[in-house]
């Protein structure tokens, strides 16, 4: 993956993750805020309920007190003091008092809790009100279950005593806490309020009092109601349909829970807000990613262009184009890098020139040394021969003639030797360019081995082994030059084994070409000899010109091949030549093919 693509992905991911993180954070904060608002609203509604509860309680207390202060109450109290009550005389008093004081419920009760008269249930006279004894001292409004002929209802009631008689007399008056009561609460539009009348152990939807109409989720809050009254503490639950319900147990005078206030709030605004935020976040993320891709593309291009130019320049340098330079477009690190690169290539060029020059000088010196060495050997016999001729001339003409004939042969031989030396130097300088043809390297190996068959026998115990790979393909090469190179290597190998040894010729298929290997078990080479082995005019032999391996390397190089040597002193040497197929260098077939085409 390119650096630019990595940069693009990095920027896009950064933008996406940034938006996602911000969105998550906003949603999280929104949820907490909503829950806080929801709790605050629920608390406000509870407070409002309690205020309304107190306000109505005060109103009821005033009315009940007024009823307790009437002549009727005094009459009943006095009658009660005179003995066993005559219920006939009181039976409708509670009803009349309740009607006058606009109370829905009113009961007149003696100290034992016996109902003397009841407005809401006239038939209950004479029965005990078990609720009274526990609440006698309570002056505050009380929430309790009121037994009516049709069943129990939730009631807000107040107890007041009538103190005019000899025996205590109490009045319990109040009104129902019903849908009308709930309707008096100022409930926000997205909230609901209901009461659960806790008069049965088992949850019953019939005991739910809603502000209006039915309670649509009655069955769903049964668990909430059970939890609240079981633990005697507030509880909450989130229902399907995006509602949160809070259950607040309402305490009675005796520690019981006569009712549970239920406050529901819709999560719809929160969900809509969250949906909105999510939509905006998706849009922002999409836009961010697109913009990130665009901007990061521009940035990446500006960042990577110098790097790409450097990479291209480095590739050029690796291919040998040391003149490559990159433009310096900025003054930052990349600009410094480009300048350094340019300086590096300039320095490389300079050093190469110096190296070439140094090598050239060294080559000339070596050439001079070799020439001096090569030419000194024939010159010395020439000098001796000429001096013999001069001495013979001075001694006697007869002797001169004999010496002259003998010296002339020597002189001619040495001159011939000099010509031969000069010819080899000239030959090296005139190395031809390869003439590429399809070539079977195995056949070539066999021909070279056959050529030196006689010398193998002369040198005694040189055993030639051939390990030729039949699967090697034909390659394009100059058969004469390659034959010459291989012959040089074989000749060197024979020279390295004066006492005999083992010569192994190997071919092997290689990816895109072939590998040829000439291995001997001769004296081997030192590391210094290995390093200078292919240097022209360098030789480790007494009578070599030092051009053989230089010619071999030149031929291999002209075939775009590579030659390496592995050798240690006393362990022989192995020359490996790798040659490419070079099929693209084949000359096209002459037009004779088309001439033979029918037609």
């Amino acid at each position: 993956m390119s650096f630019r693509r990595k940069l693009l992905i990095f920027f896009a991911l950064t933008a996406f993750l940034s938006v996602a993180t911000v969105t998550w954070f906003v949603i999280s904060v929104t949820r907490k805020s909503f829950e806080q608002i929801n709790n605050d609203q629920a608390a406000a509604l509870v407070a409002q309920f309690r205020r309304e509860f107190d306000r109505k309680g005060e109103d009821i207390a005033r009315r009940v007190q007024a009823a307790a202060s009437t002549e009727t109450a005094t009459r009943i109290a006095l009658a009660l003091g005179r003995g066993t009550p005559d219920y006939r005389k009181f039976i409708h008093d509670a009803h009349d008092l309740a009607e006058n004081q606009q109370l829905d419920f009113l009961e007149i009760i003696d100290a034992e809790g016996t109902i003397l008269s009841s407005a809401q249930s006239p038939a209950r006279f004479g029965y005990k009100d078990t609720f009274l004894p526990a609440s006698l001292g309570v002056t505050q409004p009380i929430l309790r279950q009121e037994e009516l002929p049709s069943g129990s209802v939730l009631a807000l009631e107040v107890i007041r005593s009538v103190d005019n008689g000899e025996k205590p007399l109490f009045m319990i008056g109040g009104g129902p806490v019903d849908s009308k009561f709930l309707a008096s609460l100022d409930v926000p539009t997205d909230m609901s309020a209901a009461l659960y009348q806790n008069s049965s152990k088992e949850f019953s939807p019939a005991l739910l009092v809603a502000r209006s109409g039915n309670f649509p989720t009655a069955e769903k809050i049964s668990g909430l109601v059970d939890r609240a009254r079981g633990a005697h503490q507030n509880a909450s639950v989130a229902l399907e349909g995006n509602q949160i319900w809070h259950a607040i147990p309402l305490d009675g005078a005796d520690g019981s829970i006569p009712a549970i206030l239920l406050i529901g709030s819709s999560r719809q605004p929160y969900l809509e807000l969250r949906q909105h935020i999510t939509s905006v976040a998706v849009l922002a993320a999409t836009a961010g990613v697109i913009l990130a891709i665009l901007f990061s593309s521009l940035i990446a291009r500006s960042v990577t262009r110098p790097i790409e130019q450097l990479e291209a320049a480095a590739r050029e340098v690796s291919l040998g184009n040391w003149h490559t330079q990159v433009p310096v477009t900025s003054s930052d690190e990349l600009g410094a890098l480009a300048e350094s690169f340019n300086q590096m290539t300039s320095e490389l060029l300079s050093q190469r020139d110096r190296l070439i020059q140094a090598e050239r000088v060294a080559a000339w010196r070596e050439l001079a040394r070799r020439l001096a060495h090569e030419l000194k050997n024939p010159l010395f016999p020439l000098q001796l021969t000429v001096e013999n001729l001069l001495r013979a001339k001075q001694r006697s003409p007869q002797e001169f003639e004999e010496v002259f004939a003998e010296s002339s042969t020597t002189l001619l031989a040495e001159v011939s030797n000099l010509k031969n030396i000069i010819s080899r130097f000239g030959e090296f300088s005139r190395m031809p360019q390869p003439n590429f043809q399809l070539l079977d390297v195995n056949n070539l190996m066999r021909e070279v081995a056959r050529l030196f068959q006689a010398q193998f026998a002369e040198r005694g115990e040189v055993q030639c082994e051939m390990k030729l790979d039949d699967s090697v393909p034909q390659i394009a090469a100059d058969p004469d030059l390659l034959h010459r190179a291989l012959a040089n290597l074989v000749l060197n190998a024979i020279d390295a084994m004066p006492s005999g040894g083992r010569l192994r010729l190997t071919t092997q298929k290689q990816a895109g070409g072939v590998q040829l290997e000439i291995s001997d078990s001769g004296t081997g080479l030192t590391s210094e000899e290995r390093d200078r082995l292919f240097t022209p005019y360098y030789t480790s032999k007494a009578h070599g010109t030092g051009l053989g391996l230089a010619i071999v390397q030149s031929i291999v190089s002209d075939h775009q091949g590579k030659i390496e040597v592995q050798s240690q002193p006393g362990r022989g040497s192995t020359f490996q030549i790798e040659l490419p197929a070079n099929l693209d260098k084949l000359q096209p077939e002459p037009a004779r093919h088309s001439a033979t085409t029918p037609g």
């Binding site: 006939r88 005389k89 039976i91 006239p122 038939a123 029965y127």
Partner: protein, 448 residues
């Protein structure tokens, strides 16, 4: 004139019919009698079944419609529109003589044909044949009490051509169903014109509102219910004999639980407190004053026994107890019964359903003649019509005992009918069954 004389004679010998306010003052003609009742009928046809359980409606009905026979203070049938009657042997076929000279409010004469048509409408089972001056009635079975039966309000003679017309002392002037009825006195009434010129009857008025209207002088006569009895104490009150039957009717249920319920109900307390003593505790269909043997069906509360019966029987849930929700008195009694039953471990639930387990009913006997009254009550309670071999009390007792032993009903009370009189109202007479004789009242014009 013979009939008028007979009627006057009946009234003269009956203490119950002569509650004269001031006998020394001479009655005067004129004025409008203002009456209010709680019932709000949509029809004033005497044949309408709504009238059966009301005291007030028969009182109003008889101002317009008259019967062939009336029952006197001894419970004996007496001629009224019919001048006489006689039965053929076997008491299955009867002949009632229709006199001449009686007219309907539109002036048309009362004839055997109109009588036959009216009676056929009241009882399609009878075969009725008009004759020259008589009407022949042939019953399905022998009926020795047919004359007394014809004294029931439902057999009031009416011409049912719209508007309804009767032979009574008043004619209909204005009729707003369920709201108001205005009657005017007929000058041509065959038995002599009524003293008041007209009667205005307000329908569907609550008892407390009636009492208030009476106090402010807007009424001359109001009903008194037990809940208004306390405020009516200082007024002129007239009470009937206890005639209305109040009891429980059971759907099929466990007999021992029914017995437990009967033993749990504190009838005496209900009567004393809720009914203000206006009734009589009873264990029978017919009141003591009518049958003479009601004491033979004792009633007493035995809560321990009731609890024992309840504990011995596995009750299957709560019983539903229904009643006429428009009747506040029945509501009170029903609520108390629920509480009493709870004391015995029985669970009753008040209900408005028509198919309740138990129904609390209040029935007005159609007649003060005991055989007719019992037969009528039993028929309305779903019992088969009793057959009486003769008119003896033992036959009556046997029929009533058989019905009670079926345990399908539980008698509770016999209630009196009570009215409060305005200061100007004079000479209000009331039959034993509580029916007012408004045709004879007059209004005093002086300062009360």
């Amino acid at each position: 004139m013979r009939r008028i004389g007979l009627a006057l004679l009946v009234m003269a010998v009956s203490p119950a019919w002569t509650h004269s306010a001031n006998a020394a003052v001479r009655p005067r003609y004129g004025g409008t009698l203002r009456v209010a009742i709680q019932a709000a009928p949509l029809s004033i046809d005497p044949n309408d079944s709504v009238q059966a359980n009301s005291v007030s409606l028969p009182s109003v009905s008889r101002l317009i419609f008259e019967t062939l026979v009336v029952i006197d203070e001894h419970g004996e049938p007496q001629p009224w529109l019919a001048s006489s009657w006689q039965a053929e042997p076997g008491n299955q076929r009867w002949q009632f003589s229709i006199p001449r000279g009686v007219t309907f409010s539109d002036g048309s004469p009362l004839t055997p044909d109109t009588v036959a048509a009216s009676l056929r409408s009241a009882n399609p089972k009878w075969k009725i044949f008009p004759a020259a001056d008589a009407v022949m009635i042939e019953c399905e079975v022998a009926d020795p009490f047919l004359p007394a039966e014809l004294a029931q309000t439902r057999y009031g003679i009416a011409k049912r051509d719209q508007p309804l017309r009767g032979t009574g002392p008043f004619a209909i002037k204005e009729w707003s169903p369920g709201k108001k009825l205005i009657l005017i006195a007929r000058d041509d009434y065959w038995s002599g014109r009524a003293f008041v010129d007209s009667v205005e009857i307000e329908l569907g008025k609550a008892a407390r509102d009636q009492m208030i209207a009476l106090d402010v002088g807007k009424l001359d006569l109001s009903e008194v219910s037990p809940e208004t009895a306390s405020v009516a104490n200082d007024r002129h009150i007239e009470r009937s004999l206890p005639v209305q039957w109040v009891g429980l009717v059971f759907a099929p249920a466990e007999a021992r639980l029914r017995e437990a319920l009967g033993l749990s109900i504190d009838r005496a307390t209900i009567n004393n407190v809720l009914l203000r003593g206006s009734g009589e505790v009873t264990g029978s269909f017919l009141p003591e004053w009518m049958s003479g043997y009601s004491f033979l069906f004792p009633v007493s509360r035995n809560l321990d026994r009731a609890r024992q019966l309840t504990s011995e029987t596995r009750a299957s849930g709560a019983w539903s107890l229904s009643f006429d929700s428009s009747d506040p008195l029945l509501r009170l009694i029903a609520e108390r019964i629920v509480l009493n039953a709870k004391d015995a471990g029985l669970s009753l639930q008040l209900s408005n359903a028509s198919s309740a387990d138990i129904t609390l009913v209040r029935l007005m006997p159609a007649s003060t003649e005991p055989h007719i009254a019992l037969g009528n009550l039993l028929a309305r309670l779903g019992f088969p019509a009793p057959t009486f071999e003769n008119a003896s009390p033992s036959a009556l007792y046997a029929a009533e005992k058989a019905a009670l032993e079926s345990q399908r009903v539980l008698p509770l009370f016999h209630l009196r009918s009570t009215v409060a009189l305005g200061a100007a109202l004079r000479d209000l007479q009331q039959t034993d069954s509580g029916v007012w004789r408004l045709d004879n009242v007059w209004l005093w014009a002086g300062t009360p």
